[in-house]
């Protein structure tokens, strides 16, 4: 008799469970899942499943657990740190078919959603009620709520409204053994440890979120959006500090440097001055009463800090185009180089002038080009290295420069990631922030949820990764990870 290999038997069981059309295992079908937006590291999962319910996710996890197969949750695959990479093969649970809004509670400003729901459609669905979901990552047209929860995603407006963790009240989670547990709920202030807060930002290592209770926020009555144009990056950085010191809390405070300005202008034609060294996008929102006065005050501060021009968005269409230019900026950089890598360090915003100058020096030293488009108000940098991913030497220099930038951030009391997560990308840099005791406790917490180490293995914590990195396929992945260490 012919014995099936364990993986083949596993796939056969999955097909029995979900039907053949929701189990993808041909090499061609798996290709689409070989990486997330950290395209530098690639590895195909052995099989991809498309469950439609918590029960199906649970059944898949039970099977995987019984077989000893690794599970990798995946939303839209827009993650920038390799979180949804099937680093060890295994079964990828793609949430694409779990994309419904299950309930909206307008009086209490809550919604219950499935994890595969994309970010923007949630806000669109509740807009007529005057509500929205606050976290607005630039990838919001594609990324999923499950991915937002797993990465604790932020966005331009999280400066005022808070990141994902500030907007999640409850979760239904399938653990690695297939058991289903409810964390938190719809009411506030539940007794006990904040396991919802622990799960948010856990990068798929503690389980698969299959239902999410989110808070919705009231849309502001009025919005004023300004573009401040600067002839020097130093002045733009000073202006960020001056605005914060003034006591104004902008809804968003974003910076783009000249490389970015030129790319987005070519792509979207907003009318950015091509000779500007940097621009700030400053958005104020709230009640209409007093907002214009605040806008005048902000504009005065920006000019006093050296802005040569402050333009107020004429109308909603103008404002939308400005935000489109900002949110799609990274894509527009494609015209400069075949590949780009986004770093995600955080510094105290008062250190922006010196840090941006240092980043420019690092770029020179490693002979790479770095563009900056980032959340200036909370000091969340996104230095984007532009490079040719066929040039192994350049890849090595990009990785080395990125590491240097992260060390700089850590040395200033900052963080190595503000919103993109550790994934596989920053494993080697965890030690810049954490000592052995911190990592021990984090690993102990992980083992509670997933004793066998089957849930998104090789991510977030360095210990378990060590043995696994060597097994990545592809020259670029090896180069990348080699450079990281």
């Amino acid at each position: 008799m012919h014995e099936l290999s364990p993986m083949k038997a596993f796939i056969a069981s999955l097909e029995k469970l979900l039907g053949r059309d929701r189990v993808l295992h041909t090499p061609a079908a798996r290709m689409a899942y070989e990486c997330d937006a950290l395209t530098i590291a690639k590895h195909r999962p052995d099989v991809v499943v498309l469950p439609e319910s918590t029960q199906e996710v649970s059944a898949v996890c039970k099977l995987a657990h019984a077989t000893g197969v690794a599970v990798v949750p995946r939303g839209a695959g827009t993650g920038l740190s390799g979180g949804a990479l099937a680093a060890d093969g295994g079964v990828m649970i793609a949430t694409a078919r779990m994309n419904r809004i299950l309930a909206v509670d307008v009086p209490n400003r809550r919604a219950v959603v499935q994890p595969g729901l994309v970010n923007t459609p949630l806000s669109e669905a509740v807009r007529s009620e005057g509500l929205g979901f606050a976290p607005d990552p630039s990838s919001q047209f594609a990324c999923t709520l499950g991915g937002n929860v797993a990465e604790n995603a932020g966005g331009p407006h999280t400066l005022k409204y808070g990141v994902t963790t500030n907007h999640v009240l409850g979760l239904t989670v399938v653990r690695s053994d297939g058991s289903i547990v409810t964390l938190g709920g719809t009411a506030e202030g539940l007794p006990g440890y904040d396991l919802v807060g622990l799960f948010v930002g856990s990068e798929g290592t503690l389980g698969v979120a299959t239902e999410i209770v989110v808070k919705l926020v009231a849309l502001p009555e009025a919005v004023r959006t300004m573009l401040a144009v600067f002839d020097s990056i130093a002045h733009a950085s000073d202006a960020v500090g001056a605005l914060i010191r003034s006591g104004i809390v902008p809804a968003a405070l974003e910076m783009m440097d000249n490389l970015v300005i030129r790319a987005v202008e070519a792509a979207y034609g907003f009318g950015f001055p091509l000779d500007a060294a940097a621009v700030l996008i400053v958005e104020l929102d709230g009640l209409a009463a007093g907002l214009d006065r605040q806008a005048v005050r902000a504009s005065d501060i920006l000019k006093a800090s050296g802005a040569r021009e402050v333009r107020l968005a004429k109308d909603e269409a103008d404002r939308q185009l400005l935000w489109k230019s900002r949110k799609r900026a990274v894509g527009a950089l494609g015209r400069y180089a075949p590949a780009h890598a986004t770093q995600d360090g955080v510094i105290p915003p008062s250190k922006l002038p010196e840090v941006l100058a240092q980043i420019a020096r690092i770029a020179d030293r490693y002979r790479i080009r770095i563009a900056n488009v980032f959340h200036a108000g909370d000091g969340n940098l996104h230095p984007i290295a532009l490079f040719d991913d066929r040039d192994e030497d350049e890849i090595r220099r990009v990785i080395a420069a990125g590491g240097e930038i992260l060390r700089l951030c850590a040395s200033l009391g900052g963080s190595i990631t503000g919103e993109h997560g550790i994934g596989i990308e920053k494993l080697a840099h965890m030690e810049l922030l954490f000592g052995p005791d911190d990592l021990f406790i984090q690993d102990a917490i992980r083992r509670i949820w997933d004793p066998e180490g089957l849930m998104n293995p090789g991510k977030l914590l360095p210990q378990r990764a060590c043995g696994e990195v060597a097994r990545f396929s592809g020259a670029t992945a090896r180069a990348q990870l080699g450079g990281l260490r």
């Binding site: 009231a218 105290p348 909370d378 922030l433």
Partner: protein, 388 residues
């Protein structure tokens, strides 16, 4: 610090008690090193060590079986690094919130959390205390960005960073907020802070429980900073607006246009000192069910009420808290659970009773986390929901 615990009482220990159970000994460390020594001693002698700050929230939690050692952190009260332009401040765990508030006020900034007089930063975070601003500003979990803390097995944790945005690793800081000192002892906390609101206006509207809901709805719609209901015994709702003068004036106008009987009240103070009542019981439901919940609870007899209407959280108090209160508590928890809410008993017939409900499956995971961070079982043992 004084010598080893020899079974005797140390001076002042009787002043510190949890639910009437006095601490057998109290220590007041003056440095992180002394805190570490005390943890080492507790491990060696198998003591139940309870970290305390101002002692204003000790009524939250199950009754511990033993209370061997109170570690009063109020001598660790230094405010450290502060960067106003970065909206970040670091202070030791025993720093009083009121002292930090005075300090931040000089730069027109604020940490918008509240605790009773004497409450410390460590205590407020460990008890996840939030006052009337919870509705608009959130809780310690939303403001804590970093900390130093010592686990039950003597590991110093460096949690978070000194920046307002950070997703590196698991969010252990959030886990410690609300852990009642059962996982680690905070010695230093870093918070993000906010600009102090320029103006505030507080409006008091006499009403009934049935009428309170429509006030709540309008106040939420207007973007109030807080919406508080009190029954002393007559029922009133206090709505506060904070921010830019023009905006506050507009909000006030709209509120008064609808509720002409609204009277301007003094600037809303912080929360009152813990009630001296014998029975203190807190619950939470969806905000739009709160007034209904209060009506149902009060149908069984009068009680004092202090409610955060915007957040759906209320505290009921009554003079008599002996065994005769048991029936009342059963009726209350029945009503609240039927409305999908949670509850906790803070004062009353607590002994031998689970003081949190309804029971949740996730508490089993919480118990495992407790075991991982405090394997010898020395930190605030027996206080968490589920009794671990």
């Amino acid at each position: 610090m004084s010598g080893p615990v020899a079974g005797g009482w140390s001076p002042g220990a009787a002043d510190v008690a949890i639910d009437g159970l006095p601490a057998r000994r109290i220590e007041r460390p003056e440095s992180e090193a002394e805190v570490a020594e005390l943890v080492a001693r507790a491990r060696r002698d198998r003591l139940n060590l309870v970290p305390i700050g101002g002692g204003t929230a000790l009524s939250i939690g199950n009754v511990p079986r033993r209370f061997d050692l109170a570690v009063d952190l109020r001598n660790l009260d230094q405010i450290g690094a502060y960067s106003a332009p970065d909206l970040v401040v670091t202070a030791q765990a025993g720093t009083r919130l009121s002292d930090l508030d005075t300090f931040l006020a000089a730069s027109s900034q604020v940490l918008p959390l509240e605790g009773p007089p004497g409450a410390t930063l460590g205590g407020i975070a460990a008890a996840e205390q939030a006052g009337r601003h919870r509705f608009s500003r959130g809780t310690p979990r939303d403001w804590l960005i970093g900390a130093r803390a010592l686990t039950g097995d003597g590991r110093w944790l460096k949690i978070g960073a000194k920046v307002v945005k950070n997703v590196a690793g698991y969010d252990v800081g959030r886990l410690l907020c609300g852990s009642l000192g059962s996982l680690a002892i905070f010695t230093e906390l870093t918070f993000k802070v906010a600009p102090r609101p320029q103006t505030a206006a507080v409006w008091r509207i006499a009403t009934t429980l049935a009428g309170a809901e429509s006030i709540r709805q309008l106040a939420v719609h207007l973007g109030a900073a807080s919406i508080e209901l009190t029954a002393r015994p007559e029922i009133a709702v206090e709505v506060a607006f904070e921010g830019e003068p023009d905006a506050v004036a507009w909000q006030s106008e709209r509120l008064v246009a609808r509720f002409a009987r609204a009277e301007q009240a003094d600037a809303a103070g912080g929360p009152e000192a813990p009630s001296s009542q014998e029975l203190v019981w807190t619950f939470g439901v969806l905000p739009d069910r709160l007034c209904r919940a209060l009506e149902r609870c009060l149908a069984g007899g009068p009680a004092g009420v202090a409610a955060h209407l915007g957040s759906g959280i209320a505290t009921l108090t009554a003079a008599s808290g002996g065994p005769e209160a048991v029936g009342r508590l059963q009726a209350w928890s029945f009503e609240i659970e039927a409305l999908g809410g949670w509850w906790r008993l803070e004062r009353g017939p607590k002994d031998g009773r689970e003081c949190f409900g309804p029971t949740r499956a996730e508490w089993a995971i919480a118990a495992e986390i407790k075991k991982a961070m405090d394997p010898d079982g020395i930190l605030s043992v027996g206080r968490m929901p589920g009794g671990f």
